[in-house]
Amino acid sequence: MAEIIKHGAIHADDWEVLHLAEGQDAATVEVEHGRWIVPFAVWHAQRDKLAARAEAGVLGVWLAGGDDPALLADDLVRLQLVAVDFPRFADGRGYSIATLLRARLGYGGELRAIGNVLRDQFFFYLRCGFDVIQPQPGRYSVEQLQAALASLADFSEPYQGAVDRAEPLFRRVRREVRA
């Protein structure tokens, strides 16, 4: 069981993330029973076999930084969970991928940030459309995660539009010139 942050609260979670081991082939790897988030390559190769599980809500797909989210466009209606992997927290491709999934491709299901996901970036994940944040198991104590919930609201009125608030500040509020 891992702790995740979902809709501003900590939840226990039993999804597992499948990583292909050295020598494993995306087309032939067996996706065991249970709730699995599989790499895009596995989904791509075994779509027909896995589609029913995806539609039943027990199989999700994760994208790596180099995966083009547009390749998932036709599958988004049946996927209830898409994750984006941050191989290093400082690798920011996942922010653009999430933005494209939400704002361009219209994905409305669960969007989960996985990988080297750190509390000082939680605010950015939420703004780019992630609704679930899954730090690596053991990275944070429950107390630390509890404290981290506060950082979800680090900035109350951001300037620019993003997925969470599409309109920039100048469209959201009336800004006056002070005398």
Partner: protein, 564 residues
């Protein structure tokens, strides 16, 4: 000048609170070095050779007197009594304590300042023309656009972790005074044939290890769409810029790899989705920001002040200062004054707390309480009455800010170099000081005329050496500090990268090398020809030949002395 409203203030206040907590967790061991590094960098905090260095943002180089006083206070309270202005119009403190930084940021927030995104792999502080709003050749004031870009880029969630740093500059005059060709994005404000405002957009410029001059990606982007267009560029870069090699991660490498046509195609495809979306600017927002930059209340004055002319005629030092450090102004009877931070023997761009306070006071008395920072590391009082120039000069001179060398050989651009910076291969400041000492004679300096000498302590090129008429680059040769010399670089509309003249030199040779270059120029120049013009006309060869011949002669002399 832009004044914060409650939203702007809240964002910097919330940033202070955030960084206070991050620093606390770092000091408590909850945040690893690697995890804290990007957080502190995005607050301008480096861990340097001797101590942390804090880089504070000065958006498009604009300061108010109260902010300048706060910088003086910080220099005195948390540092060693001085500050350093940088080539990106920012200010750096070299000796703060890490645990004091949250408090420094809190003090800055009280005067509407911050250190947000002054470092790190994110969109950096936007830079612009230090003579914005007062230059006669300006078509459109770039400052409101600088502020609009500043707000848009501040904590942009999608672009907080780019492959590498990303610098945007805005220019709105006939002459480029913002080095837009050497920025990741250069925004060139212009009118189209119908008189509408928009931007010519350059992309992929930059100095550093692989210097590249930016290429035009769009001839005209209407103002409403400028943020959406920038967003399209940034998204293509964020997704496709290289992350496997730090030295190939800037956008210029991506643009070169794809070619400008293919890069433009990808950006246009992205822009097609974003155009007319929520990021589209409104007239109301542009007008709101622009109001902050309305002209101050100028007096109606005669075009030329008789007293100013008379003082120049009778006082040679004042005339020299007026010639070099005073610039024409769009308004009759006004002038802009450049305060030189390049006296001989001081690190270029350094200023003491006392001088900062003096500048604040003078700006209030003579220039509507505003101060500008130039990327050449000097300060500007932009709106001074010609009739008050003499009085101002006397006070500026007493404050040791009146060296009449703006645009001359001793107005050297230099990075902090090996004396302070971890990245540097070699020292910069002693080289600058040695050259300044050699060319200390004002008549000689004036005779040499306009020339730009830029020094970087390593190939990251903070001292902009590639675009110096003479460029000096510190290099490491087997653990020793050597200096490579380029000539023929230039900034502005005809930006060009200098060419290396040959093998590098030891530190003590540098004044001689510069003297050799200057002597060739003085012999070959045509009337009214600047150094750079002569280099362009005759080529580098005569300069190379003389420099290395003079060097051989010096070595021969040294050998004779050693051998008796």
């Amino acid at each position: 000048m832009y004044k914060y409203d409650e939203y702007d203030q809240r964002i910097v206040d919330e940033r202070v609170a955030q960084f206070r907590d991050q620093t606390r967790r770092y000091l408590a061991g909850e945040l690893a070095d690697d995890e804290f590094r990007p957080l502190r960098l995005q607050n301008g905090l480096y861990i340097q050779r001797h101590a942390p260095m804090l880089r504070v943002a000065i958006p498009y180089g604009n300061l108010r007197a109260g902010q300048v006083r706060k910088l003086a206070h910080i220099a005195r309270t948390y540092d060693r009594g001085y500050a350093h202005f940088t080539t990106r119009q920012n200010v750096q403190f070299n000796w703060p304590k890490l645990e004091d930084v949250p408090e420094i940021l809190a003090e800055l927030a009280t005067v509407q300042m911050h250190a947000i995104q002054t470092s790190g792999a994110c969109i950096r502080n936007v830079t612009s023309d230090p003579f914005a709003g007062v230059a006669g050749d300006e078509h459109i004031d770039p400052r409101p656009w600088g502020e609009i870009v500043r707000q848009w880029s501040t904590f942009h969630p999608e672009f907080a972790f780019l492959p590498r740093k990303f610098k945007i500059a805005v220019n709105g005059a006939a002459e480029d005074r913002a080095v837009i060709q050497a920025h990741d994005i250069g925004l060139d404000l212009k009118h189209d044939a119908a008189g509408r405002i928009g931007f010519r957009v350059l992309v992929g410029g930059g100095l550093g290890r692989t210097p590249v001059i930016g290429e035009e990606i769009a001839a005209f982007v209407p103002w409403q769409h400028v943020l959406s267009y920038c967003e399209a560029i940034l998204r293509v870069y964020n997704l496709h810029g290289r992350r496997d090699n730090l030295y190939k991660a800037r956008i210029k490498i991506l643009v070169k790899a794809l070619g400008i046509e293919e890069f433009r195609r990808q950006v246009d495809a992205e822009f097609a989705h974003l155009k007319d979306g929520p990021a589209t600017l409104t007239e109301a927002e542009v007008a709101r920001v622009a109001q902050h930059f309305d002209d101050p209340e100028y007096a109606e004055l005669p075009a030329a002040d008789a007293g100013f002319a008379a003082r120049k005629a009778e006082n040679k030092p004042f005339a020299a200062w007026a010639k070099r450090n005073v610039r024409a102004h769009k308004r009759a009877g006004y002038a802009s004054v450049v305060l030189s931070l390049k006296p001989t023997g001081v690190a270029p761009g350094d200023i003491s707390a006392e001088q900062l306070e003096r500048v604040a006071e003078l700006s209030e008395r003579y220039s509507f309480g505003e101060v500008r920072v130039t990327h050449e590391q000097n300060l500007v009082l932009a709106d001074v009455r010609q009739s008050e120039l003499f009085e101002l000069w006397q006070q500026v001179r007493d404050a040791r800010l009146a060296t009449p060398n703006i645009g001359l050989l001793t107005d050297i651009i230099a990075c902090p170099g090996g004396d302070f910076c971890n990245l540097a291969n070699a020292k910069s400041i002693p080289i600058a000081n040695a050259i300044q000492a050699r060319f200390d004679d004002l008549d000689y300096l004036f005779d040499i005329g306009e020339i730009e000498l830029n020094i970087s302590g390593c190939m990251n090129a903070c001292g902009h050496h590639h675009v110096g008429h003479i460029g000096v680059l510190g290099v490491d040769k087997n653990g020793e500090e050597w200096y490579q010399v380029t000539i023929g670089g230039s900034q502005g509309n005809d930006t060009a990268l200098g060419k290396v003249i040959g093998p590098s030199f030891a530190a003590h040779e540098m004044p001689d090398v510069v003297e050799s270059l200057i002597s060739v120029y003085l012999e070959l120049r045509h009337a009214d020809e600047r150094f750079i013009d002569t280099v362009r006309r005759v080529g580098a060869e005569p300069f190379k030949t003389r420099v290395y011949a003079d060097r051989a002669a010096r070595l021969e002399d040294e050998r004779k002395v050693v051998n008796g």
